[in-house]
């Protein structure tokens, strides 16, 4: 249980008379916060307002557009790539959705399975396996970038969905989180299920997974956020225009729309909005997940 802090008074019960110095401090704090908040939001707000400004009219791109138009969005979504008339920003958007979903779903199952087995079942080499999982967290991506590329190339997975998905289906962090969680579940639950004749699979599927909803929620958000915004790996293995994901598409899009900021910003807003929505909806789980990762890490 978190105890709320109150830094200016030792206990919240007595009302103290604030000195003018303290009032000034409070005002300063708010000023800092508001200026900071504005700096945080300004680029995004400017991007959105630019996306609503018509390219055809020579405006200066101010923070608040003088005339709002949605034509940029229509143009951006159906913008034909220089490869093929049928391949548009919409295609890239769908690619991103597909890759994100196909990483998140299976990864949750793979990680929770491993976490459950490591937490509950006695198999030979359990500790070794656990340390292996932790070790993967310490290996930065650039070290394996080149050989991973060669591996994927030999598997004929360049320019494919599998190539973007499969290498990331297992994560040491995920396994760690699930293992920690499953260890907190009382054994009686499992024993009862075993007495009733449940197989290991059924215990996992019908009992453990439903219980793990909070962890699943947190891990899902991380995976979604990470896969949607992933840039380096798709950049390395995807050359086929039809397979590109949003981040890749944006760099190409920028090249084609260098002078048309309105359309460009519309495309970027389309790319950014989904994650913003996900974040706003799942804020609490997200913040909890990050602090959990930091505290235990």
């Amino acid at each position: 249980m978190k105890v709320p802090h109150n830094m200016t008074t030792g206990d919240g019960k007595k009302k103290k008379q604030l000195t003018s110095g303290q009032i000034a401090l409070e005002i300063l704090k708010y000023v800092v916060l508001i200026v900071g908040a504005f700096v945080m939001l300004a680029p995004m707000l400017w991007m959105i307002s630019t996306s609503l400004t018509a390219d055809s009219v020579i405006f200066s791109y101010k923070l608040i557009p003088e005339r709002i138009t949605f034509q940029n969005y229509v143009r951006a979504w159906t913008f034909p790539s220089n490869f093929d008339e049928a391949v548009t920003l919409g295609t890239f958007f769908l690619n991103s959705v597909l890759v994100t979903a196909l990483i998140t779903g299976p990864a949750l199952i793979v990680d929770s399975l491993a976490g459950y087995v490591l937490a509950r079942r006695d198999i030979p080499g359990k500790n070794l396996l656990f340390y292996m999982a932790l070790a993967t967290m310490m290996i930065p991506f650039y070290v394996i970038a080149v050989p991973l590329f060669l591996t994927v190339m030999k598997l004929r997975w360049l320019d494919t969905y599998q190539g973007m998905i499969v290498p990331f289906l297992a994560s040491g962090f995920g396994i760690f989180m699930f293992k920690q969680f499953f260890q907190t579940i009382p054994r009686d639950l499992e024993d009862a299920a075993l007495v009733d004749g449940c197989s290991a699979w059924r215990i996992y599927w019908s009992i453990m997974l439903p219980l793990a909803k909070p962890v699943i929620g947190t891990m899902a958000i991380f995976k979604v956020m990470w896969s949607w915004n992933q840039f380096l790996w798709p950049l390395l293995i995807i050359n086929d225009m039809r397979m590109k994901t949003m981040p890749l598409a944006l760099t190409m899009f920028r090249g084609l729309n260098v002078t048309e900021w309105g359309t460009l910003c519309a495309g970027m807003t389309i790319a950014t909005i989904p994650m913003v929505i996900v974040y706003l909806l799942m804020q609490d789980s997200f913040q909890k997940g990050i602090t959990m990762g930091a505290v235990k890490g």
Partner: protein
């Protein structure tokens, strides 16, 4: 049941790591049709004698120095301010500060490249115009380009650092603050003698992860400035990407990766020794 996870680890993590070390001793170019030949330490020698490597190293260090301290200090200040439950709109502020973190770095980099656009339409130049200062070619000027990248990077991840500090602040026992109030300590004294020392484990964690992370910067410089102008914003990973995936000189790229891995491993070990988080005695 653990098989799926560990098969993936094996194929896509552990084997590649070993392979990376192996590759670094070879002249491996998948463009040329000849088989890779063993060249021993030649790749490493090539790296050391490559001026672009040293420029990238310098740039990466400059980037690290230009982002990590700012993120940490600003993050700490914001976390401290937002730690008071009495504050109006506390949750709203936290949300706003975290928002850049969830955006795609690619989109953020493109937006900021527009902000720092050399034209009069760029937000930065519009701001300068308000003060009567002439517009600058932010990304074309080799002195300002890295600055622009640093601004983008601090802006992007500030909320994350702030969140971790907030979590750390929650761990400071309330009784200590009450003791401060009883002893008549000022807010500044309280921060200096209680809050900051007790935040040491958190600060230490953030410092190490941020420093190590900052050396792996790639996307910002690739998208915002393409490593330019010239090599002014080329970082180590930019170099790795160019060598390995544009020039397909994979021996060089692997050697670079291996060298970075070892160097950063040592760096993180050194950081741990120097900033060792001891147990806090109350």
């Amino acid at each position: 049941m653990v098989a799926p996870a560990y098969i993936i680890f094996l194929v896509f993590v552990f084997v590649p790591v070993v392979w990376a070390f192996y590759l670094s001793f070879f002249d491996y170019s998948i463009m040329s049709l000849r088989t890779p030949r063993f060249t021993g330490l030649d790749n490493f020698r090539r790296i050391i004698s490559d001026p672009v490597f040293w420029i990238s190293l310098k740039n990466t260090v400059r980037y690290s120095l230009g982002t990590v301290p700012f993120r940490m200090i600003l993050g700490l200040i914001l976390a401290l301010i937002l730690d008071q439950t009495r504050l109006v709109g506390r949750k709203l502020f936290r949300t706003i500060y975290f928002l850049p973190v969830v955006t795609s770095m690619v989109a953020a980099a493109i937006v900021w490249s527009l902000v720092f656009s050399a034209s009069n339409n760029g937000l930065a130049n519009q701001l300068l115009a308000m003060f009567g200062i002439a517009p600058k070619g932010w990304l074309a000027d080799s002195r300002l380009a890295m600055f622009s990248v640093c601004v983008l990077s601090v802006w992007k991840d500030l909320g994350y650092v702030m969140t971790i500090f907030t979590a750390g602040l929650q761990g400071v026992p309330l009784e200590l603050y009450e003791a401060c109030a009883i002893d008549g300590a000022t807010a500044w004294q309280r921060i200096k003698f209680v809050t900051i020392p007790l935040l040491r484990p958190t600060t230490f964690f953030i410092l190490v992860t941020e420093v190590i992370g900052s050396f792996q910067v790639f996307t910002q410089t690739y998208v915002m400035t393409q490593g330019g102008p010239g090599y002014a914003t080329t970082t180590l990973i930019n170099l790795l990407h160019t060598k390995g995936f544009v020039q397909y000189d994979m021996g060089y790229a692997s050697a670079l990766a291996v060298a970075m891995f070892v160097a950063l491993f040592i760096l993180s070990w050194v950081l741990r020794r120097v900033f060792r988080a001891e147990d806090i005695v109350y």
